[in-house]
Amino acid sequence: MVTLDLDSLTVLKEVMEEEFVPLIELYLRDSEARLVAMDAAMSQADAESLRHTIHSFKGASSNVCATALVALAQVAEDNAREGNLTTMHDQLTELNAEYQRVKVALTSFL
C-alpha cells in the first residue's frame, strides 16, 4: 500500500492553492500532538480516549492522502472501539513508523 496517493494529493494541492503548505504544516503539527496523546492514553489503558484520537488522526491523514496510514489507523481504531488493547502497543509503533514515512514524503512533495 502506498504511503501517499500522489494523484489525490495533487488534486488537493490544486484545491487548496496557497493554503496547501499551511495545511500540510497544520497536519504535521496536529499529528505530532495526537501521537503523544495516543501514547498517554495507552499508558493509562484508556481505550475510549485512544479511539477518539486515532479516529481524528485517521480523518486528518485521509485528507492528506496517506493511504497506508489510514488503513493502519482504521485497524487500530476498530480494536480500540472493542476495548482490545492486547496488540495496541505494536500497532501504535507501526502507526508512528508509517507517520514518519508520510512526513518525509509530504516534505519532499512540498
Binding site: D30, S56, A60, S62
Partner: protein, 566 residues
C-alpha cells in the same frame, strides 16, 4: 452563482481547512469553528444560512449544538448537514433523528457537497417564502376581520334590528349573518301592522353585506313613510338590480302583516317553501315562491304581485333561507324540506314549533363544524297593541322637535296623476315627537282625507258607488279612466301644529278643486250613515274636531296629542 453564508464546525482542523477551502472555492462565505460551543455562538453572531456540523466534537457535541441552533433559529429554516466518517446505515440515520437535515460522509465528494448546499438553499428560500406568505395571509385575515367588524357596525346602524324584538316575532340569525348573506328586517307600519323581510343574498362576505345595506335602508325608510310593501319591494328590486353585478341577487320572502284586516300579504322570490300554521295547530299550509329573486328583473318586468292569505290572531308564519334546508349532518346529508315539514307536523303545540325546529336542526347537524347560517323567523298574527304602547312610551321623552309650524302644499293635476303625497305628509308629521306614537292614526286620517279630496273632489267619483261590490268595480274603473285624462284640478294640503312639548294640536286642512257636497244635510244623520264611503266615523274617533267648510270641498281636522284614552 449565489454566495451563501456557511458555518463549518469541526474539531479536526485539517478536515475543517480542506472542507472550508472547497466550500469557499464554490463561491460561498465560510465561518469556521472548532467545537459545539463556538458553533452556537457563531450562529448567533453571524446567522449563517447553512451549517456543516461534525458529529463528534469535544465539549458540546454536534447533536446538542444542532438542537440549540435550531432553537435559536426558531421559525427560520436553517439546514444542518452532519459531517461524519461513519457510513453504516444506523449512524447515518442517527444524524437525521437528532435534528440534522442531511449528512455528508468523509471523504467529501465536491460535486455532492455543492449540490447539497444549493438544494438546501432552495429549501430555505422556499421556507422563507412560505413564512412570508403565511404572515401576509395572517395580516390579510386580520385586516379582513377588522373590515368586517367595521362593516358590521355600519350595517347595524343602517339595518338595526327594527322591530324584530316585537312580542309576536321569534327569530334565529347568526350574529355575523350579514356576511353569510342572510338578512332579517321587520318594521312597524305607520298605519298599524308590520312589514317583515327575510333575504338571502347570493355569495358570502362583503359582496353580500353591501347589497344588504341599501335594502335595509329602503325597507325601513319607505315603511316608516307609509309606503306599501309592493312599493318597497319594487324599490329594493330596482336598487339591487342597479348596484349588484350580474349573477348577484337576493332571494327573499316578504310579509305585510295587517292585523286590522286579519290577513297577510306574502311575496316570495327564490326562497324555499314556507309554512303557515293555524292557531288550531292541525293545518299546515305551504307557501311557495312565485317570483324571481330581488335584483334579477328590471323595474318594468318586476312582478310585485302579492299572495293574500287570511290570518287570524294566533296564526303563525314560518320563513327561512335555504341554510336550514341545506344544513348537513356528519355524513353530508342535507336536513331537507321533508324533515322540516315533519318537525312542524310533530310539534305538540304551535308554540313549540319554533324551538322544535331549532332543536331538530341542531341535533341533525350534531358536532360537525358547520357554517352558522341558519336563518329562521316565526311571525305570529297579533294585534300588536301592547308593543305600540311601549313604543309610544319610549318615544314621548327626549327632544321636543318642531312645535309651532305650518305649511301649505298644492298638488296640480299632472302631479296628482303620478304622485301620492301621503307618505311625505306623514313624514313631516312624524318630525313632531309627540305625534310619533300616533303614526298609525295620523296616517289613516291623512290617507282618508287625501283620497276623499282626490277621488270624490278632483276626480268627482261618487262615493255611493262603493256600497255594492259591482259598484266597487265600477268605481275603480272610473278612477283609472279619469286619472288618465285628468288635466285640471288641485288638492291643497295645509298643515299646522301648535304645542308646548307636553301636548299639542295638529290641524290638517285639505281643499280640493271639486264641487264639494252637501255636508249640512248629512251632518245630523245617524253616525253609520253619515257621509257614506268617506270613512268619516273612523276619522271622528281619532280627531278632536272634524269639520267641512265651503261647498264641502274643504275639510279641517284637528288632532290633539297625547291622545286621550278612548
Amino acid at each position: 452563482m449565489t454566495a451563501y453564508k456557511v458555518l463549518i464546525a469541526d474539531d479536526n482542523s485539517v478536515d475543517r481547512k480542506v472542507l472550508s477551502r472547497v466550500v469557499r472555492n464554490q463561491g460561498n462565505e465560510v465561518i469556521e469553528v472548532g467545537n459545539g460551543f463556538e458553533a452556537v455562538d457563531a450562529f448567533r453572531e453571524h446567522r449563517p444560512e447553512i451549517v456543516l456540523m461534525d458529529v463528534m466534537m469535544p465539549g458540546l457535541n454536534g447533536k446538542e449544538a444542532t438542537r440549540q441552533i435550531k432553537a435559536i433559529a426558531n421559525e427560520d429554516y436553517v439546514p444542518v448537514i452532519f459531517l461524519t466518517s461513519l457510513s453504516d446505515a444506523q449512524s447515518l440515520a442517527d444524524c437525521l433523528e437528532c435534528g440534522g437535515d442531511d449528512f455528508l460522509t468523509k471523504p467529501y465528494n465536491h460535486i455532492v457537497l455543492q449540490a447539497k448546499i444549493d438544494s438546501f438553499h432552495r429549501m430555505s428560500e422556499m421556507h422563507r417564502l412560505l413564512l412570508n406568505q403565511r404572515d401576509e395571509i395572517a395580516k390579510a385575515n386580520r385586516h379582513m376581520l377588522q373590515e368586517q367588524r367595521v362593516a358590521k357596525a355600519v350595517y347595524d346602524n343602517v339595518a338595526h334590528a327594527g322591530c324584530l324584538n316585537a312580542s309576536n316575532i321569534r327569530y334565529e340569525l347568526s350574529p355575523l349573518a350579514v356576511f353569510n348573506g342572510d338578512v332579517l328586517l321587520a318594521a312597524r307600519k305607520p298605519g298599524g301592522g308590520m312589514h317583515v323581510l327575510l333575504g338571502d343574498f347570493t355569495g358570502h362576505g362583503l359582496p353580500a353585506a353591501i347589497g344588504a345595506m341599501p335594502m335595509a335602508d329602503i325597507f325601513y325608510g319607505m315603511t316608516a313613510k307609509g309606503f306599501g310593501l309592493r312599493e318597497v319591494l319594487h324599490q329594493i328590486n330596482q336598487k339591487l338590480k342597479s348596484i349588484l353585478p350580474v349573477g348577484f341577487f337576493c332571494c327573499a320572502a316578504a310579509v305585510d302583516l295587517a292585523p286590522d284586516r286579519h290577513s297577510a300579504s306574502v311575496w316570495m322570490g327564490g326562497v324555499p317553501d314556507c309554512y303557515l300554521l293555524r292557531q288550531s295547530g292541525d293545518v299546515i299550509e305551504t307557501l311557495s315562491s312565485r317570483h324571481l329573486p330581488l335584483g334579477v328583473l328590471s323595474a318594468d318586468k318586476f312582478n310585485d304581485q302579492m299572495t293574500d292569505i287570511p290570518m287570524a290572531k294566533g296564526d303563525r308564519l314560518y320563513l327561512w333561507s335555504d341554510g336550514i334546508i341545506e344544513a348537513r349532518d356528519a355524513q353530508g346529508e342535507m336536513f331537507g324540506q321533508q324533515r322540516l315539514l315533519q318537525v312542524v307536523r310533530d310539534a305538540d303545540t304551535p308554540e313549540a314549533v319554533f324551538t322544535d325546529i331549532q332543536a331538530a336542526v341542531e341535533a341533525f347537524v350534531g358536532s360537525t363544524e358547520q357554517d352558522d347560517d341558519t336563518t329562521l323567523i316565526e311571525v305570529v298574527m297579533d294585534d300588536m297593541t301592547a308593543d305600540e304602547d311601549a313604543q309610544a312610551a319610549s318615544s314621548t321623552g327626549g327632544a321636543q322637535g318642531p312645535m309651532d309650524w305650518s305649511m301649505d302644499y298644492v298638488l296640480e293635476a299632472s302631479t296628482l296623476q303620478h304622485f301620492n303625497p301621503v307618505p311625505l305628509m306623514n313624514h313631516i308629521m312624524m318630525e313632531v315627537p309627540g305625534l310619533r306614537a300616533m303614526g298609525g292614526q295620523l296616517y289613516t286620517v291623512m290617507a282618508e282625507l287625501y283620497s276623499n279630496a282626490f277621488e270624490h273632489g278632483v276626480l268627482g267619483l261618487d262615493s255611493e258607488l262603493k256600497k255594492s261590490s259591482e259598484g266597487f268595480m265600477q268605481y275603480y274603473q272610473q278612477r283609472e279612466e279619469r286619472m288618465k285624462t285628468l288635466d285640471a284640478g288641485y288638492v291643497r294640503i295645509r298643515m299646522s301644529h301648535r304645542g308646548d312639548g307636553q301636548q299639542g294640536d295638529l290641524t290638517l286642512r285639505v281643499e280640493d278643486s271639486g264641487q264639494g257636497f252637501d255636508y249640512l244635510t248629512l251632518r245630523d244623520a245617524p253616525d253609520d250613515h253619515q257621509y257614506s264611503g268617506r270613512g268619516i266615523p273612523l276619522l271622528k274617533r281619532i280627531c278632536s274636531q272634524l269639520e267641512y267648510q265651503g261647498e264641502g270641498n274643504i275639510v279641517e281636522a284637528v288632532i290633539h296629542w297625547p291622545l286621550e284614552a278612548a
